[in-house]
């Protein structure tokens, strides 16, 4: 680790903070229907959409109506995306004339993009034509992120309001998230990416003759625009298979920092939106501090593990200075790779700028564990906030009793109904992650897909199901996931992780919104101080993470000790 490395890390976090603060306030204004600088230009467009769709903007929805609208919208999105992929051979804008996508892969990919996972069991440049990339995948990069924001806003309203049955209007929130937040930011970001050297063209690629005299096709496409929303919406599905390690997606140190910054931006800003909407900005700030505290520790562990490198190679006289550079891009360096790895998994983004399978055991443990904690550090666009709020509710429930009052969070009593729903939500993650991994670990057919044996192989499996369930989408690699078994089970994991999680969360929101907001007093459990941050972190680690400890012990942890004992796999 170097001082310069830490300064780079600090600079990116600082830049995020500077932008997230105004963005958070801006989003609060947008979703509370207050005027902003863009209203004048965007509102006419917005009205056209409502008119076309017949949406009555004044009519708010109950939690159930809101959730059903979200599910219907995503269902239609899934079907249309599936159809688009299956039929791409007969559709235009397919310069490389790719065939229709296989059913299991199309299913997996459609689920993946609808759930904001962007797990890619395919190689983009050799499977998907421009139409699928632009009208299908990129559109869903926007819509899935906007869905996340809308849900987070609905949950936020549950805490902000008192004794009401409605949480807002899904169609309005969805439209505003897209038009007021994601689109303008994406345009700006695409321009910045293009400036830093990311290509933006509709041509298929360039045929060149290499120095060896071999003909090679260098794939091109509308990369900058897709890159923008991929990072911003914590999607992570790259235009190229190599994702952000590819020189066209992420050409230099500057674009790399821009990538990390844009990943962190919206999720971080939403905590301020939350604080502002519940009428106490500090309530949002403490959530952000808890998220970032764990994230920064993760960056540190990652950075340390990778710069320490592999002792076996060090003993062999290799790699002593740079640490473990296998699978990393020299242009990013250790610090910015470590930060990228931690952020992309703390965030459910899943874009990668290094080969995660080449990380040291502990270096691989960090992203895996961050995903398993529930993608809340600071988590996916929107989904991070509502996931964190579930943790906050659990924290308040467990620790809140210690001050001698029945638990309340932001003036809302947390009672049996909320606990029932919260437990339903948090059960989904271990069920899908551990359940599917355990089955796959015993299934010879599944094991054929593994590149490595021993603990590393187990890590590859665990990572795949964690990534899918957490809607992260990054791959540890080393696992050939494009098989019917993995396409199907990973698809199910993605749906469970998104919808089976958010439905109970929305039910909690409905139940909380209906409750009276209790005025705070000195006897109220304090949720705006250091103690609460510490407790929240404790609950995230113990309640959110402890159940994965046995699995992790048999994967990356034992591999770490084995590596130091001189065994490799």
């Amino acid at each position: 680790m170097t001082v310069a490395g830490w300064l780079q890390i600090a600079a990116v976090f600082g830049a995020v903070l500077v932008a997230a603060w105004p963005l958070g306030h801006y989003m609060a204004r947008v979703f509370q229907g207050e005027g902003t600088w863009g209203t004048r230009y965007i509102q006419p467009v917005e009205r056209v959409f409502y008119k076309l769709a017949g949406v009555n903007t004044a009519k708010e929805q109950t939690w159930l109506a809101y959730t059903l609208a979200m599910l219907a919208f995503n269902g239609v999105g899934f079907l249309s995306l599936y159809a688009l992929m299956r039929m791409q051979a007969v559709l235009p804008l397919n310069p490389k004339e790719f065939a229709g996508v296989a059913p299991d892969l199309a299913y997996n990919t459609a689920v993946s993009f609808v759930t904001n996972t962007n797990w890619q069991a395919y190689s983009g440049e050799t499977t998907m034509g421009h139409l699928v990339q632009m009208a299908g995948l990129t559109v869903h990069n926007f819509l899935s992120a906007a869905t996340g924001i809308a849900l987070a806003i609905a949950v936020t309203r549950a805490f902000a309001r008192s004794s009401v049955t409605t949480l807002g209007n899904f169609w309005v929130d969805m439209t505003r998230a897209t038009l007021y937040v994601l689109l303008p930011l994406s345009v700006l970001l695409a321009a910045l990416f293009a400036l830093s050297g990311v290509p933006q063209t509709l041509s298929a690629g360039i045929d060149v003759t290499t120095l060896e005299g071999v003909k090679q096709t260098i794939s091109l496409g509308p990369v900058a625009s897709q890159e923008a929303i991929k990072q911003l919406g914590t999607n992570g599905g790259g235009f190229f298979n190599a994702n952000s390690a590819h020189p066209f997606e992420n050409p230099n140190a500057w674009s790399n920092m821009l990538s990390i910054w844009s990943m962190l931006l919206v999720s971080s800003a939403l905590t301020f939106t939350f604080g502002r909407m519940v009428g106490d900005i500090r309530q949002g700030t403490v959530l952000l501090i808890a998220m970032w505290a764990l994230l920064i520790v993760a960056v540190g562990v990652e950075y340390q593990a990778e710069t320490a490198g592999n002792p076996l190679l060090v003993q062999a006289g290799l790699d002593a200075v740079g640490g473990n550079m296998e699978g990393k891009e020299v242009r990013f360096g250790q610090a910015m790779t470590a930060m990228y790895v931690a952020v992309t998994t703390g965030l459910s983004c899943g874009a990668v700028n290094a080969m995660h399978n080449s990380l040291t055991p502990l270096g691989g443990l960090v992203p895996l564990f961050l995903i398993q904690l529930g993608e809340i550090l600071p988590g996916g666009t929107g989904s991070g906030l509502y996931g964190m709020l579930v943790m906050a509710v659990l924290t308040v429930f467990i620790a809140g009793l210690m001050v001698g009052r029945t638990p309340e969070y932001l003036g809302k009593k947390i009672e049996a109904r909320e606990m029932k729903l919260a437990m339903l939500a948090v059960l989904v993650l271990p069920l899908a992650i551990l359940g599917f991994t355990a089955v796959a670990a015993m299934l010879p057919k599944a094991l054929e897909s593994l590149a490595n044996s021993g603990p590393r192989g187990l890590t590859e499996l665990l990572y795949a199901y964690s990534s899918a369930t957490g809607n992260n989408g990054s791959a540890f690699a080393g696992l050939n996931a494009n098989t019917p078994w993995f396409n199907t089970t990973l698809g199910i994991s993605m749906m469970l992780g998104r919808f089976a999680y958010v439905i109970p969360v929305m039910a909690i929101a409905g139940s909380l919104a209906a409750k009276k907001k209790v005025a705070p007093s000195p006897g109220t459990f304090p949720t705006r101080g250091v103690l609460f941050i510490g407790l929240l972190i404790g609950v995230i680690l113990i309640l959110g993470g402890l159940q994965y400890f046995p699995a992790l012990a048999l994967g990356p942890i034992v591999e770490h000790f084995l590596m130091h004992a001189g065994k490799t796999f």
């Binding site: 210690m402 001050v403 015993m442 009276k516 000195p522 309640l543 402890l546 048999l554």
Partner: protein, 684 residues
Amino acid sequence: MSKATSPPLFDKALVRQAIVDAFIKLSPTKLVRNPVMFVTGVVAALVTLLFVRDLSMHRDGLLFTGQIAVWLWFTVLFANFAEAIAEGRGKAQADALRRTRSDTPAKLMLHPDDSRDDPWEAKNAFELQVGDVVLVEAGDTIPADGEVLEGIASVNESAVTGESAPVIRESGGDRSAVTGGTVVLSDWIKVRVTAAAGSSFLDRMIALVEGAERQKTPNELALSILLSGMTLIFLIAVTTLWGFAGYSGTVLSVTVLVALLVTLIPTTIGGLLSAIGIAGMDRLVRFNVVATSGRAVEAAGDVDVLLLDKTGTITYGNRLATEFIPAPGITATDVAAAALLSSIADETPEGRSIVALAKSAYGQTEPATSAGKAHFVPFSAQTRISGIDVGGRSIRKGAVDAVLKGVGTTMADAPRAFREAVETISRSGGTPLAVAEGNKLLGVIHLKDVVKPDIKQRFAALRAMGIRTVMVTGDNPITAAAIASEAGVDDYIAEATPQDKLAYIKAEQAKGRLVAMCGDGTNDAPALAQADVGVAMQTGTQAAREAGNMVDLDSNPTKLIEVTEIGKQLLMTRGSLTTFSIANDVAKYFAIIPALFLVTYPELSALNVMHLGTPQSAILSAVIFNALIIISLIPLALKGIAYRPVGAAALLRRNLLIYGVGGLLVPFIGIKIIDVIVTALHLA
């Protein structure tokens, strides 16, 4: 106030009964009420079956499997024991109450509208219906809760209050309610039964402390859901571990997986949860307060606003002497001496306070007067004067105009300083008493409503806990304001009517606050019903007692404060033990995980930070610790954790340090110690 009397935690007879009950509670139908313990019981049975199988097939590792099975059963039994002992303590209280009302005869009036001498029929108390009218004469036990229709009687209510002084019960007004099981000492009353046998006040109280009718309170239910959810999560983690282990080339036995499961699921709090609830209810009963539901006890912990009656709670209720102001030409000491002498035989609280003040503040000593030489003039409503004639001196004290008349003057002719003193006292809400000797006016005694000395600190403590205190008084606003500021309450309602109270409660509730109050009159009933915690006085009317959700058997309004504290203590105990239980899991992983995979991955022994002897001893020690921690925390669960009236932040810091950090560290130490013992005894 009868202080909370607490029997020893582990009375021999109670423990014996609790041990028996612990086994009875192993019945699956009883165990299923507690999901965590049910799971523990099921896996204990499973391991026992495996042990029997291994025994019949002469397999290896019998000692290990057998010991695990035994300790798993102990875990369940300890939890059952905790619940049984809590119930037993409640039962002991209830049995004493029950004795008072078995087979009570009743005299059912056949024509209730006629006079007392009408015929009645002998019935058993159990046969009475609501609306029946019974005659209760001197020496009879009142057969059921009811309302006095006719007559007046003195009643011994010590069966429910513990107070032996009889009380008057008469028809109409606020003293018309009688309680089944109490005894009429003199005269007779006709009582209309208001509660059928089995649902009377006493029955409800017995049912609550016995636990027979006990239902989970709302927060207890929510916590059970959390614990069940955690049990499921760890069930997933342990079941899938079997798959991961298979992949890694380790075959894990069911016994070790069960051991891991049971140590991870929250058995500590799961085992103590109901004991904590019962003990909280029991603590309330020991304070002579009966709650009609467990929900009310929890609500007491959440109270934001306390409506307190001024008289008896904030002030002593009696006017006490605070100052002697001399007339011109007289010293204060002289006034004090004369006042003391005149009050020697005055046994009223006012008289006693005059004696006390003269002695303490004016250095007077009681003169040696014998009853023979002195002639005492008692106070009468006609003269409004009392006094003493002794050794040729004739001292009188009493109402100012009456005393002035006695010395042959009027207020207008009295010295100016005297007049001013009298006016000042009246204006401040106090009462002036004039003192004269013969024809000479000596001065004036200032009697005032004295605020209890420690009440201000108490209110400050309540404020720190986030509870606002509101004084309710019939005094005029000026007097009320003076006392309110002296007592340090946050707000007051002067010239309060029951409607004012009701309106105040509704306004506070609209702001999202929970309100507690106490009351006794029938006209308090709407407010008692409206309040989130309504404590009715035992001496109050039946209507008031029905409206409230608690009844104070001592009729002491100060207890509202204790009631909130008991509610808070109950919730704190629950929260702290939950935190402790969850924090314990970290150490158990470090004990068991390396032990499970020592054969496949000896390198994992790096995680064996406690340096436990062998894999078997590590697993066994964790299971033993898990069982023993339940039994060692029973006293804490029954007594409740130490309570301090400080703010939420300070409470949290303190409890988090003890139960959170302690919960992380204690098992590391405990498991290590047990492991040393287990290894030394060659148990594994």
